[in-house]
Symmetry: C2
Subunit: 93 residues, 2 copies
DNA sequence: TAAAGTAGTTTATAATATAAACCAAAAATT
DNA sequence: AATTTTTGGTTTATATTATAAACTACTTTA
């Protein structure tokens, strides 16, 4: 009947992050924060969860003197997103 | 960018309930429990929430000697579901 | 008549999302 | 040059949620 919805992706903010990353080579913390209209704290936590699940890869460096957190979606993340969308389709016709 | 996802519908079980009710005139508790593969407790709670939001209408009666809980989606519920699906589309392309 | 099943509700618990508070460094202001 | 503000985050606390467990009331079956 209905397929399970990956709880890691069934979250507004995490889904937004993944949606953005899917269409880009990479995105940094500030960009994601602006596009998802989230608070830094919430974003930080959700990025960690996606990273721990292996759905994204996080690289910390510096841009000049400022910290720079760069995120990329992984193959596993792409697969998970696709599966999630397919599962969703069992609910929305 | 991304539209808000109605938190009342952004829940696996409640979305499943609404999805079922959308395609039927009505459905009873036992039917919904089987189709959504949920526990009675969880189903009871989630039906109440949908009902309190005005997304469904619940009617309690008896079928012979057994209690019968019949649910129907309301116009408001249909609208909310449609809005939810449209919002989702901003995330899944 | 005792045990098991049906159709639920209520309550407790675990997980989640989110915000608030915090930190270190850099940049801007006085 | 000292103080304030901003930037780019992390950590911790809180409120909400989902879920399961426990319970109720009645019915059916053995």
């Amino acid at each position: 009947m209905f397929k399970e919805l990956d709880p890691l992706l069934h979250s507004q903010l995490r889904l937004g992050i993944m949606s953005l990353l899917l269409g880009l080579d990479s995105a940094d913390f500030v960009f994601l924060k602006e596009k998802t209209d989230s608070t830094a704290g919430n974003l930080s936590v959700q990025l960690d969860k996606l990273s721990e699940a292996g759905y994204i890869q996080i690289e910390k460096s510096f841009k000049g003197k400022k910290p720079l957190t760069t995120c990329r979606i992984t193959k596993k993340g792409i697969k998970a997103f696709e599966d999630y969308v397919n599962s969703l389709k069992t609910y929305i016709k």
